[in-house]
């Protein structure tokens, strides 16, 4: 019996889709059978980030409307044979799917797959309702910006109302800016949101290159700090205890090290 994890944030552009793609790769690397569902109907991106856009024939809406079998719509990743994508429809909108249909779909996929990651659209409307409907737990993505943290807080409140367990992933952290006092630090964010931290991903130019190319950074984790960070998050999802990366390694690291020790379990 698999587990459904929704990747959500409230705010747009904080890295939900990138996170979904990389965690999918990370879990697949650990020989888990993984399905990524793009719930952002009408503004799909996950297929592009995965480099699978040109393979789409059927989509999420086709599945729930019964035009095809679920298996027919699943696109096998070109790199990992136990990683699949269920793309969103692009020519429809969020109302094409109902929470009840999502719940049924997730339940069906859980029978055959270990992890189902749902890439949630920005916002708190119908698309969000659909995305969380079938979820067992949630990962909240935020960036170290006041606006993103504010929205994350709102989302956590909504998820608590649904009794969904949520963990926090801080994305696009820039240690140099934190050091100068120009960016919120990890513990500032954790203090406000007060949920378990599952990972911190450093800001990385390679992410932009990789999303443009359709090759998630986690696939070549040795080449980038962000890729390694995603792999670590995947391991934590699997229940392993992995130390947090020292993102301040090139800085005045003694003072930073002290901070990290607080999270380093």
């Amino acid at each position: 019996m698999g587990e459904v994890i929704v990747i959500t944030s409230g705010k747009g552009g904080v890295g939900k889709t990138t996170t979904t793609a990389n965690l999918g790769v990370g879990l697949a690397l650990h020989n888990k059978k993984v399905v990524l569902i793009d719930a952002d109907i009408g503004l799909r991106n996950l297929d592009v980030v995965m480099g699978l856009e040109n393979r789409i024939v059927y989509d999420l809406v086709a599945v729930v409307e019964g035009h095809c079998r679920t298996k027919q719509a699943l696109i096998r990743d070109k790199r990992y044979e136990n990683l699949y994508l269920l793309p969103a429809a692009q020519t429809r909108d969020k109302n094409a799917v109902s929470p009840e249909q999502m719940r049924k779909l997730c339940a069906e996929l859980k029978e055959d797959y270990d992890y189902i990651l749902v890439d949630c659209p920005a916002g708190i409307e119908q698309g969000f309702r659909n995305a969380i409907a079938g979820a067992d737990q949630a990962i909240i993505v935020t960036t170290p910006e006041v606006s993103a943290v504010r929205d994350a807080d709102r989302i956590i409140g909504l998820l608590e109302a649904e009794e969904l367990k949520a963990r926090l992933l801080i994305n696009r952290l820039r240690p140099d800016m934190v050091k100068r006092g120009d960016m919120m630090d990890i513990d500032d964010i954790v203090e406000i949101l007060a949920i378990e931290l599952i990972g911190v991903i450093p800001d990385d130019e390679k992410i932009i290159v990789s999303t443009n190319r359709g090759e998630p950074v986690a696939a070549n984790a040795n080449n980038s700090l962000s890729g390694q960070a995603y792999i670590n998050v995947a391991k934590r999802i699997l229940g392993e205890s992995v130390a947090f990366l020292d993102l301040y390694q090139n800085q005045s690291f003694f003072s930073r090290l002290k901070k990290l020790i607080g999270f380093g379990s």
Binding site: R44, G51, N54, K78, Q90
Partner: protein, 221 residues
């Protein structure tokens, strides 16, 4: 309900009102009045020509026509012309051997939809005939046609020609760089490491596969 006596046609110079040959002059006036009332807001202050066909109008009839137009709309009457004064349709030039490499049997005449804009992501066109796009088709946009698809621009999205099973249908584009091409029941996708030639190409089905060929023009030969 009064019989249809006039026809409106939009041109780049304004509106032309054609009076049908078999309609009586009084029918023309009443039909014109009625339809102008309905569409006055739509036409605005466009300029209008009236084409009376073969008939010859007296000065009084012309004045009546002008009166009806001015009374029921803000259109500006430029002139009244007869069939003889109509501009001749542009005759296409014939070039020898121009389409030598095209499998012409694949292309069919028929109902066509002309889209004069770029189709963007999420836009979906389905038409029971040919589709002609004067613009690009971007990734995420989809055209589904029962006939052929012609893109006078770059085709980057999905094109599905011959959707009801016609394997002779074709897809033509000035630059063919689609996410996916589908003809009838045959689907192909772009190669993962693709570069697309900068010249017009067309796609057709041959032995269960979609083939792409360049359209070469041999001018003056």
């Amino acid at each position: 309900m009064s019989k249809l006596a006039v026809e409106f046609k939009g041109t780049k110079d304004g509106v032309t009102i054609y009076c049908l040959e078999d309609a009586s002059f009084s029918d023309i006036l009443s039909d014109l009045a009625e339809r102008l009332k309905q569409r006055a807001a739509f036409f605005g202050e466009a300029s209008v020509k009236v084409d009376v066909g073969q008939r010859k109008l007296t000065a009084k009839e012309k004045a009546a026509l002008k009166g009806v137009i001015e009374e029921n709309s803000s259109l500006k009457l430029l002139s009244v012309q007869s069939a003889k004064e109509r501009k001749k349709a542009v005759v296409p030039a014939k070039r020898k051997g121009e389409t030598e490499d095209l499998r012409l049997d694949g292309f069919k005449e028929g109902r066509s939809l002309v889209i004069k804009k770029t189709l963007r992501s999420g836009q979906y066109i389905r038409f029971p005939g040919n589709v002609i796009v004067l613009g690009d088709v971007n990734p995420g946009a989809e055209i589904v046609a029962e006939g052929d698809i012609y893109v006078f621009g770059t085709l980057r999205g999905i094109a599905h020609a011959g959707v009801s099973g016609d394997r002779n249908a074709s897809v033509v584009a000035l630059r063919l760089a689609p996410t996916q091409l589908r003809i009838a029941d045959v689907i192909s996708r772009a190669p993962d490491d693709s570069s697309f030639p900068d010249q017009p190409e067309y796609a057709y089905v041959s032995e269960d596969r979609i083939m792409i060929a360049a359209i070469t023009t041999k001018l003056g030969s």
